[in-house]
Amino acid sequence: MILKTLESMGALHGYGIARRIEQISGDEIEVRYGTIYPSLIKLEQEGFVSSRWDTSANSRRAKYYELTGAGRKRIRDEARLWGETVSLMARFLRAEKEPG
C-alpha cells in the first residue's frame, strides 16, 4: 500500500503517506499513523524506496520518501501475483457454483 501510494503521489513525507492510505481505504482501515514508520525503514533497507530531507510546501523540513526502480518492479510483481491469485480464486469459486 505504501509503495502504491508513493507510485501515484510521487515523493511524499510519512504523514502524507499515512493520510493518503487512510483516504484511499475510505476510512475502512483505522491505522495508527506511527506504524508506517517501521515499514518505511524496512522498505528503505530493502531498496524499494529512498529517502531524503527536503523542505515542504509550508517551509518545514521533512523526510521525503520516493519509489525506486526496484520498488516499481516490486509493485508490478506484486500486482501480477495478486491478479493471478484473484483469478485463480475466482475460478475455484465459479467451479463450486456449477454443480456436476
Binding site: 510519512g14 504523514y15 514508520y37 517501521p38 533497507q45 521533512a62 523526510k63
Partner: protein, 867 residues
C-alpha cells in the same frame, strides 16, 4: 537479494543508534506538527488538534522502539551491552579475573599445543597428491605375534601384487629402512674432496607417479633408469650448494656413477625427512627369502580400502598355495599409508592427549569455583535485577557473556602458549616429533583453539550461571542456597582430586618405568666411550684386506696415548630391532641364533664382564679353528645345568665353532627387550662389510674423536667415520621417547596437582568466611582452637578422600590402557599408588592449613558484633 541488503544495512544500523534517534525525533515532531496544522485548518481548537494528532499517531516511544528494532539487530545490540557490562564487572575485580584467565590460558594452551602435535603427526595431509588415497601394503607373518613396523615384504611378492591387482592405479616399493622406520642406507659420495655420507633410499621407478609429485627441477626416472639419483630439496641446498645446474651432472655414490636427474620440491619428504637421495632401482630381482621391502600403492578412483583389502587377501591366498615353502604363513595387510607411518607414535600421543584433556577438565572445574565465588558475592545484585524484571535467561546470558570475555582473553594467551611450546620443542626436543610430521600452528590449530575457547565458558560458566540465576527473592537472600553452593563446590573438589589422582598415578608409572629403564643392566659401561661406524665395503672389496684393515685400525687405536681399549662389532649398537639371526646347529638341533661378529678388543672396550673361559684373541684368525663366545642368556637357554664351554655351534658350511667363553648379557638391541641368546664370532674368522668401533679412553670426546679419525685415515684415507657418538648418547637416545613421555606427563600432573590444591584452598577459604559466624559462636561458647582447627581440616580433607577413592579406581582402569607403554612394572604398582596418596594428602593438608589457621584466629567478639 533485497533481504541480504536489508540485513547488511541492519548490521551497519547497530552502530548508528544516536544519529537514528535524532532523525526519528525530528521526523515524528514534523509528522505531529503537520497533523496539528491540518487539524487546525479543519477548525479544531489548538488543544484538541494536538490531542487528536497524538492519538492518531499511537505511542511515540513505542513506535520509536519499533523503528530502532527494525533499523538495527536487537539481539546483537543486547549482546554488545552484555559484553560491555561484562568487561566492566571484570575490571571491578581484576585479581580474580587474572587468576581465572591464567588458569584458563594454561588449560587452553596445553590442549592447543597438544592438538598441534597430534594433528601434525596423525592428521595433517602428507605432501603428496590426494595423500589419503595412498596405502601401505605389508606382509604379516602369522607365526609372529605382532606385525612389526619395519620393512616386511619380499620383492617377489611385491612384483606379483603389482602384476595381479586391479584395485591400485600404481604400486611402488622402496628399500632402505630399518626396523624402526629409520633410514639405514649410507651412500658414500666419493670423487670430491672429502667423502660425504648421504642417506639414501632405493625406490622403484614409478614411486613418484604413485605419490603424484614431480621433481621441482628435472624429471622423474624412466621405467628402466637405474643409474640416476634424485636429490631432496634440503640435500640440494646443504650438500650441493643449491647448484642450479645440478641436473645432468654425474656424482659417484658408493662406487657407482649416478646422473642427478632431479631435485624434489621444498617440503617434500618420503617416507620421512631423513632421506637425502632417492635412487631409482630400475629392474627388480624377485626374491622370496629376504623381507626387506616396503610397499606403497595408490587406490584406483572409486575403489575403497575394504575392496582393496579383499582383493589383496585373494592374491595372498593364491601365493600361499603357489609357494607353500616361503609364503605359507604370510598374508598381505593394507593400511592407509599415513596411518602406518604414525602407528608407532599413536599410543603415546593418545595418552598425552587424554592427559591434557583431563588437565583441561580440572582447569574448567577450578575456574567454575572462581566463578561460583564471584556470583555468590554478587547474589544481591542478581536478586535486585530479578525483582526489577530481569528474566532468568537474561541473567544466564549476562553471566555467560562474562565467562566468554574471560575465555577469549585466555584463548589468545593459550594460542601464544602453544606457539611457545612449539618453539621449545623445535629447539630442545626436535626428535620428539616423528620425522614424517611437521609441527606448525596452522589454520586447523587456530580453529581448534577457537572452538575450545568458545566451548570452555559452557563447561565452567553454565553451572555457576544457572545456580546464580535461580529464582531467589530478596527476602531470604542471607540464608538461601548456602548449602547447595557448598555441595557443588565439594563435588567439584572431589572430581578435581579424582582427575589429578589419575594423572599423578600415570605420571608416577611413567617415571618409574623410565627409572627402571635407566638402571637396566646394560652389560656394558657407557662412560669415557666413543663409537663410530666404518663401512669398508665400498672401499676395500677383498675380504682379506678388510680383515687386515680392521685389525690394523684396532691395533693402532690401542697404541694411542689415552686410549686403553678398542674393539668393534658388525652390528650397530642399540640399533634396535631383531634380525642378524642365522640357522645354526646346537646339540644336533636346528636353531635360529643371533650371530654377531666382533673383534678381539670388543668386550674390553665395552667393559663387558667375562663370566667363564676366555675372550677372543688376535690369534683367532681365518686359519685357526672357529671359536665362539656366547652370552649368559645362551647358556641359560641351551645348557641350563652344565657349562657351555667346549660345546660346539654348527655354522653350516663354515663348520662348527667351539665355545671358549661366556660373557654377561649385553643389551645391544633395545633396552626394554630382554637379552636374546647370542653367539659372538671373531670378525677375523668371518669378515663383515662394516663395523661399529667402540673406543674406551680418557679425555675429552673431541680429542678422542680426532685421534680416532687420524688413526682410521692413517690406515684408509677415503673411508669416512659415520655416526660418531658416545655410548652414553646412544643409550640416552634409545630411551629418549620414554623420558619425554615421563617428563611431559609429570609436567601435566604437576600442573593438575597445583590446580587441585588451589581448588581445595579456594573452597575451604570460602567456607571459613561463610561459616565465620558459626565458628565465632562456637568459640564464644567455649570451643577450643584445636577443635575448630581440626573441624576445618576435616572439612577440607573429606572431599579429598572421596576423590582419592574414585581416582584410584579410574587410575587403575587407565593404567591398564597404557600397559604397553610401561617397562619393568605392573600397572597396579603399589609404590606409585602409595606415593600418589601421600602426595595428594600432603598437598591438600597444605592447602587446608591457611584457611584453618585463619579460622582459629577469628575473634569471637568481632564476629558477634557484626551480627
Amino acid at each position: 537479494m533485497s533481504e541480504v541488503r536489508a540485513f547488511l544495512l541492519r548490521i551497519v544500523g547497530v552502530f548508528q543508534r544516536e544519529r537514528r534517534e535524532r532523525e526519528l525525533n525530528e521526523e515524528f515532531e514534523n509528522h505531529i506538527a503537520l497533523h496539528i496544522e491540518d487539524n487546525l485548518r479543519a477548525g479544531m481548537c489548538p488543544e484538541e488538534a494536538r490531542r487528536i494528532a497524538l492519538l492518531k499517531f499511537g505511542g511515540i516511544s513505542y513506535t520509536k522502539e519499533d523503528c530502532h528494532n527494525r533499523s538495527g539487530l536487537p539481539l546483537l545490540e543486547a549482546s554488545f551491552y552484555d559484553l560491555r557490562y561484562a568487561i566492566r564487572c571484570i575490571r571491578k575485580s581484576p585479581l580474580s579475573a587474572l587468576v581465572t584467565v591464567a588458569t584458563l590460558a594454561l588449560g587452553i594452551g596445553a590442549t592447543t599445543a597438544m592438538f598441534s602435535v597430534g594433528y601434525g603427526v596423525l592428521l595433517r595431509p602428507l605432501p603428496y597428491n590426494q595423500s589419503h588415497r595412498l596405502v601401505a601394503i605389508s606382509e604379516f607373518d602369522r607365526r609372529h605375534a605382532s606385525p612389526g613396523s619395519g620393512p616386511s615384504v619380499a620383492s617377489a611378492d611385491f612384483l606379483e601384487w603389482q602384476r595381479a591387482n586391479t584395485v591400485f592405479s600404481g604400486v611402488a616399493d622402496y628399500v632402505g629402512l630399518d626396523e624402526r622406520g629409520k633410514v639405514r642406507v649410507d651412500l658414500y659420495q666419493t670423487g670430491i674432496q672429502e667423502t660425504r655420507i648421504l642417506k639414501g633410499l632405493f625406490v622403484s621407478n614409478n614411486l613418484f607417479e604413485v605419490l603424484g609429485v614431480s621433481p621441482w627441477l628435472g624429471s622423474t626416472p624412466g621405467p628402466q633408469d637405474n643409474h640416476s639419483a634424485i636429490l631432496s630439496y634440503d640435500c640440494w641446498q646443504n650438500q650441493f650448494g643449491a647448484d642450479p645446474h645440478i641436473v645432468g651432472q654425474s656424482i659417484i655414490l658408493s662406487g657407482s656413477r649416478s646422473d642427478v636427474i632431479g631435485v624434489m620440491p621444498r617440503g617434500f619428504l618420503f617416507p620421512n625427512n631423513e632421506v637425502e637421495v632417492f635412487i631409482p632401482a630400475g629392474q627388480i630381482t624377485p626374491d622370496r627369502v629376504f623381507h626387506d621391502v616396503n610397499v606403497i600403492a595408490r587406490l584406483r578412483p572409486g575403489i575403497t580400502l575394504k575392496e582393496a583389502r579383499n582383493e589383496m587377501a585373494v592374491i595372498g591366498a593364491r601365493l600361499q598355495e603357489e609357494y607353500p615353502e616361503t609364503n605359507a604363513s604370510l598374508e598381505p595387510r593394507v593400511d592407509v599409508f599415513h596411518w602406518s607411518l604414525a602407528a608407532s607414535s599413536r599410543p603415546a600421543l593418545l595418552m598425552l592427549f587424554s592427559a591434557v584433556g583431563i588437565l583441561f577438565l580440572i582447569v574448567c572445574s577450578n575456574v567454575a569455583h572462581l566463578q561460583l565465588g564471584r556470583t555468590a558475592s554478587r547474589r544481591q545484585e542478581f536478586a535486585i535485577r530479578q525483582s526489577l524484571g530481569a528474566g532468568r535467561a537474561r541473567l544466564i546470558r549476562q553471566l555467560l557473556a562474562e565467562s566468554m570475555v574471560l575465555s577469549v582473553v585466555a584463548g589468545v594467551a593459550g594460542l601464544a602458549m602453544a606457539y611457545t611450546v612449539r618453539l621449545l620443542i623445535l629447539r630442545f626436543a626436535p626428535n620428539a616429533i616423528p620425522s614424517h610430521a611437521s609441527l606448525k600452528i596452522d589454520s586447523w590449530v587456530v580453529v581448534f583453539n577457537v572452538s575450545v575457547t568458545l566451548l570452555a565458558p559452557f563447561l565452567f560458566g553454565l553451572g555457576p550461571a544457572l545456580s546464580a540465576a535461580r529464582n531467589e527473592s530478596l527476602r531470604n537472600r542471607e540464608f538461601s542456597s548456602d548449602y547447595s553452593y557448598r555441595r557443588i563446590r565439594t563435588l567439584l573438589v572431589s572430581g578435581e582430586v579424582a582427575l589429578s589422582v589419575v594423572l599423578v598415578v600415570c605420571a608416577g608409572l611413567f617415571i618409574r618405568s623410565y627409572l627402571q629403564l635407566a638402571k637396566v643392566d646394560l652389560g656394558f659401561q657407557t662412560e669415557h666411550t666413543l663409537s663410530f661406524r666404518l663401512d669398508l665395503s665400498e672401499f676395500v672389496p677383498s675380504e682379506d684386506m678388510r680383515a687386515q684393515q680392521f685389525a690394523e685400525i684396532e691395533g693402532r687405536l690401542l697404541e694411542q696415548p689415552g686410549i686403553d681399549a678398542a674393539g668393534a662389532t658388525a652390528r650397530p649398537i642399540l640399533g634396535g630391532g631383531s634380525g642378524g639371526e642365522a640357522g645354526v646347529t646346537i646339540l644336533g638341533q636346528e636353531r635360529n641364533l643371533r650371530l654377531e661378529l666382533v673383534t678381539p678388543g670388543y668386550f674390553l672396550a665395552m667393559r663387558t664382564p667375562l663370566l667363564q673361559g676366555r675372550l677372543p684373541k688376535p690369534s683367532d684368525t681365518i686359519r685357526s679353528g672357529l671359536i665362539a663366545v656366547v652370552n649368559s642368556a645362551f647358556e641359560r637357554e641351551y645348557f641350563p645345568n652344565t657349562s657351555a664351554l667346549g660345546r660346539q655351534i654348527g655354522l653350516g658350511a663354515r663348520g662348527p665353532a667351539t665355545i671358549v667363553g661366556v660373557v654377561a648379557d649385553l643389551k645391544q638391541e633395545e633396552l626394554d627387550q630382554p637379552a636374546q641368546p647370542a653367539a659372538f664370532i671373531p670378525s677375523f674368522q668371518i669378515v663383515p662389510r662394516a663395523v661399529t668401533f667402540v673406543v674406551h679412553g680418557k679425555g675429552e670426546r673431541q680429542t678422542l674423536a680426532a685421534t680416532a679419525r687420524s688413526v682410521v685415515h692413517s690406515v684408509n684415507k677415503t673411508v669416512p667415520l659415520a655416526d660418531l657418538a658416545s655410548l652414553e648418547d646412544l643409550v640416552q637416545a634409545s630411551i629418549s621417547a620414554q623420558r619425554l613421555r615421563a617428563s611431559m606427563l609429570s609436567l601435566i600432573a604437576a600442573a593438575a596437582l597445583f590446580l587441585a590444591a588451589l581448588g581445595i584452598y579456594g573452597v575451604l577459604a570460602y567456607s571459613v568466611v561463610q561459616r565465620s559466624n558459626e565458628i565465632g559462636i562456637r568459640m564464644a561458647l567455649g570451643a577450643m582452637p584445636q577443635q575448630v582447627f581440626f573441624a576445618v581440616i576435616a572439612d577440607g580433607v573429606c572431599p579429598v578422600l572421596i576423590g582419592l577413592v574414585f581416582g584410584f579406581a579410574t587410575a587403575y582402569g587407565a593404567s591398564r590402557l597404557i600397559q604397553s607403554l610401561l617397562f619393568g612394572i605392573v600397572p597396579a604398582d603399589p609404590a606409585t599408588y602409595l606415593f600418589t596418596a601421600v602426595v595428594l594428602i600432603a598437598v591438600s593438608l597444605f592447602a587446608c592449613l591457611i584457611p584453618a589457621s585463619k579460622a582459629i584466629r577469628l575473634d569471637p567478639m568481632a564476629v558477634l558484633r557484626c551480627q
